[in-house]
Symmetry: C2
Subunit: 654 residues, 2 copies
């Protein structure tokens, strides 16, 4: 990690990064310690979701023998702490903060005490059921939690050089390697929730210890060899009690073990699981030069982004199993679009870029980041979405139990609190996603003002990027070093008109896989301008997406826009857009921040009084009455910040 | 029952009635005895639904001490037998069948043996948990089952004068009266599933014993007085094990005990429960001249039919709790629209008619009957829908777990088998719904060819009705008696053009509450013709129904039409209708029977190859290509008889 020194200077992202360090991480710490005065919500109506408190730190204290009591929370509650710790690492990398680091160091001391002598680390099984260790893998999340700890360790060690956390991680990974593997006497299996694979590969990249790469390789290739593995493995569990309720009926697809991963043609099952699996696959393909695995990655990638992804970069079409469903099945009002799933999609995309620098991966990374991911938190940094809906009608969220997961305002925390700390760790490490450096090419994936030093051919190259992206498309790169290297600038898929200038003179660069490649012996002070004309456009979906047929969405640059009831009144479905109308853009600065808003003339049906107390009638000769309205649109990620109201991305068109 | 002798002669309905007697009832008997070679399906994906066999008769044998074994099936499995028995009664009324009656008599002997000495009758609690009797009323269905038995007894006694079944029923009802009531020492409560109320009122109507009416009155007025009743009552249960899984999280609304029934403004919760409650309420309002109860009935009726009912007469917008959701929330692809719920709506409507002869009730009765109810069975009489969808895309039923209840073909039987025998008992007793006779008026609610004798002022009046309804709107009444009485002919709400003739001469009758009233001293041979011009029309929904906005349905007479994939290809959502086009009608006779089919010119989008592997793109200047198709429409109730395919009622319009 942090091979290049990237210092983000963009106000848009600085604001998020500061919010995370100053507000979100202290807030999350208070939640993990049950000190925050908040209402924890269930992510959907279900009896079995524990939502009274987090108890995550207390669980560790009990496991460490410091406190007495019982475990509380989801069986994977530990991972909330690990993701928080990883986010702290990246926040410290952005900005040193001794007080925060002290808290984190103390957490690490606590984790060391909670770790068992053989390396095992998991509060639920240590406190409640040591005899059930690794005996109900499809529900236990033991390796999932281990993976999140290992990721935290890799991150925290990389930033702070804290040896203790790395030692715990290696001891834990070695322990897992003792238990799992193809050798006789080891469990020939894997976790119900992928995560350990990518974590072991990160540990391998840090330590260069082949054992960890080989174990990840084992987990990935073992998956799906025997679709009945979990059912059979469950028989070793001395208890018949589930460790998570409501999962008994899930089929192998839910866990991606319905077939070997090289044979999986479509993304099936729990969306976050798929993303973490794919991330591990892409890492392994790169680290092992595994061509077959690379092909498998491309197949799943293509299926997702060309058939199973929302325009916001959201994935997961159903709340039942938080899962993929079928090609082109993308309902806007019952979808899942979990924040974690889009974060996982960014992990996958970023690792595909490392394998194969193709702008399609960065395009999707950008789409998910600017829409679903940052929609996952309120502008105050203290309220979060688990599910990021494309259409909300508040009374239906309240009265239709099939929409109980579609929250109308962001809760402060969740019974299953995977998303908020995941957001924190992604946004705090955004610098790791902005560039892909390969051989002598610096590829710019995301356009974010920054001052950076890259290492190419043992030379340090300083580049400054200045832009008001995503609101404005003018991107200026100032090269502050004399050197020979290539600069690769991603041409966003939505960009229709753009030009390149080198030191004031327009030129036409060579395009390779969606990147403009500027190959040059640079002089200090060289200035490249990539000027994209960002304008609002009407976007339509593939007609096979039945929920979007006859509708349009409005996109400006990477940002998807939406209409809210607070601006446009209720019953947004009665609005009809004429795509011949001009979309007006204006900069605004209000409670939603400094953003570009859109406005266009549209029609809205006036409800005829004759419809009172009538549900159905023959169509009438005369046209229904419509009023002309000024439709106001705001960036989707800003929605739900002004109280409960209707929201829609897709609007009816003529 | 059977106060008037009504002999249905209409081929349309004769076919159903014969099918029920000749095919459906013997088939159901073989299923109840676990002798049918069929695949029983779960009505939706859920682990806890027992679907290996029916076992219903065997349960009675075990409870009677004739067989050994354990109870199998839902806790309310007994009611399948009772509804079958009631259907047999009505089939015998239509057509004497000694063999069938012998089977039924033997079932009654078995039930007598299964009844406990104190009158209690329920196989689950008798076999498995006598100590839990009446201790978990929100799940136990004990009074629900008792109600269905009492209904069967009323029906069977009315037809056959079998005293034994009536004695069992009275003993059971007396036993319930010993246990429940406002007196000290009795349970001040009610069943989680309404049914006993209407059953006791039917028993009162037969026996004239006030005790039964008073007990029904108690149950209805007690309901909702204390919304925590079920929670509190559950504490008396010596076991904490549910008797039905998956119901723990349901709120009082599910059981209609969230408030007193006089205060319920909207239809909430499980749709069948609401309908059975409303039926009991309407009966009580009539039998007790209870004005407040009548007002409550009208309120709930209005809420349902003006805000919460599908165009097919289906009700229940969500599978979760098989329940109502919110006003105007009528999704077409995830709805419930249970067959039993529409049957219940007909019970409610029929009893409202007895209170207040207003054509709005008969209109809805007709709508539910010709669409959702008869859609509930295949044309072979041996396959059934539990859920009657308005839109089906087979791959989504298979791949979206939120649509696991939306079957693409009718199964032979269900784990929860409430619907098939309910259909049998309704259709076999259709004669009870065709007319409402009040004072000296014979109101015709449903137009069905028949020869009938009515009793008015102690005089028998013979009338013959001849019509090819619903395909043709000419309805001829031949009065074959000399008498003074009024004939009330419902003017269907969908009828735009019609005329009346008396003995060949056109006339304009007085209209009262939607009925044309022909008041006359009739002569033998008088002929009244009510000639409605039945034509296909485009129907639209209230614009607040967001799922139907911008769409039309096609209705002809009472029949709602639909498009199927087998006639029109896949992707029905790509079809656009121009409502200025003429709808062609033609009689056809094929595997779907003798029906009127419709055809009209429509446009269907041709999928551009440029959409291959693209999900979203900017809208294009050029229009998308469309082809002109001959859209073929069939009656909705005929759908799903030609294999699995797409189906849609609501189609996009320009």
């Amino acid at each position: 990690m942090f091979e290049n020194k990237i210092k983000i200077t963009a106000p848009f992202w600085q604001q998020y990064i500061n919010l995370i360090r100053e507000e979100m991480l202290p807030f999350q710490w208070s939640v993990l310690n049950d000190e925050a005065d908040i209402k924890i919500e269930k992510e959907r109506d279900a009896d079995h979701i524990p939502a009274e408190k987090s108890h995550a730190i207390e669980n560790f204290k009990i496991a460490a023998g410091i406190s007495k009591g019982k475990h509380y929370g989801m069986v994977f509650q530990d991972s909330d702490v690990y993701k928080w710790l990883e986010a702290v690492a990246y926040a410290l990398h952005q900005h040193q903060d001794n007080a925060l680091q002290k808290i984190a160091d103390e957490v690490i001391d606590l984790l060391a005490k909670a770790q068992q002598s053989d390396g095992y680390l998991n509060t639920y099984f240590t406190i409640e059921a040591p005899e059930r260790r690794y005996k109900r893998l499809y529900q236990s999340h033991e390796l999932y939690c281990a993976g999140h700890f290992i990721e935290a360790a890799v991150g925290y060690y990389s930033v702070t050089k804290n040896q203790k956390i790395l030692d715990i991680a290696c001891k834990l990974a070695d322990h897992i390697d003792d238990i799992f593997g193809s050798e006789d006497g080891k469990i020939h299996g894997y976790d119900g929730h992928e995560e350990i694979e990518l974590a072991l590969l990160r540990l391998f990249e840090l330590t260069k210890n082949d054992k960890y790469k080989n174990l990840a390789n084992f987990f990935l290739y073992e998956r799906g060899k025997n679709p009945n593995f979990f059912k059979e493995q469950q028989k070793t569990d001395p208890s018949t009690k589930p460790v998570i309720e409501g999962m008994e009926s899930f089929k192998p697809e839910y866990y991606q073990n319905h077939k070997s991963i090289l044979e999986q043609e479509t993304a099936e099952g729990h969306a976050v699981r798929v993303m973490y699996m794919c991330t591990g696959m892409a890492m392994l393909a790169r680290l092992n030069n595994d061509e077959k695995m690379f092909e498998a990655c491309k197949r799943l990638w293509k299926n997702i982004v060309t058939k199973r992804m929302y325009i916001t970069g959201g994935i997961g079409s159903t709340v039942i199993g938080e899962a993929f469903t079928a090609d082109y099945d993308l309902p806007n009002d019952t979808m899942y679009c979990e924040t974690c799933a889009s974060i996982g999609l960014i992990f996958f995309a970023n690792n595909m870029l490392k394998l194969d620098v193709d702008s399609q991966y960065a395009d999707i990374m950008e789409k998910a980041l600017y829409n679903t991911v940052i929609d996952g938190m309120a502008l105050d940094g203290k309220h979060f979405f688990y599910v990021n809906p494309l259409e909300v009608v508040p009374q239906l969220s309240h009265k239709d139990p099939g929409k109980s997961h579609v929250k109308t305002v962001r809760p402060a925390w969740f019974g299953c609190a995977c998303c908020p700390p995941n957001l924190a760790r992604l946004l705090s490490s955004l610098d790791e996603y902005m560039y892909t450096v390969k051989d002598d090419v610096i590829y710019s994936n995301l356009y974010v003002s920054n001052k950076s030093d890259f290492k190419i051919n043992n030379q340090v190259i300083s580049i400054e990027e200045i832009t008001d992206y995503p609101w404005d498309g003018k991107i200026t790169f100032k090269v502050n070093s004399e050197a020979t290297f290539k600069l690769g600038l991603r041409i966003p898929s939505w960009a229709n008109r753009y030009l390149f200038k080198l030191n004031g003179k327009e030129f036409t660069p060579k395009i390779e896989k969606g990147y403009a490649i500027i190959d040059r012996t640079w002089e200090k002070g060289d200035i490249v301008i990539f000027d994209i004309q960002i304008e609002a456009n009407f976007v339509c979906a593939n007609p096979l997406v039945r929920e979007d047929y006859g509708k349009v969405a409005i996109q400006r640059g990477p940002i998807i826009y939406c209409a809210e009831g607070v601006d446009n009144g209720d019953n947004l479905h009665l609005i009809t857009i004429d795509t011949n109308k001009k979309i007006n853009e204006y900069k605004d600065s209000d409670s939603l921040g400094d953003i570009v808003k859109l406005e266009l003339e549209a029609e809205k049906l006036i409800l005829d009084k004759q419809w009172n107390n009538i549900l159905y009638r023959n169509i009438m000769e005369k046209q229904e009455n419509v009023e002309i309205i000024k439709l106001k649109l705001i960036p989707y990620f800003c929605a739900f910040n002004r109280g409960e109201n209707e929201m829609a991305i897709w609007l009816k068109t003529k």
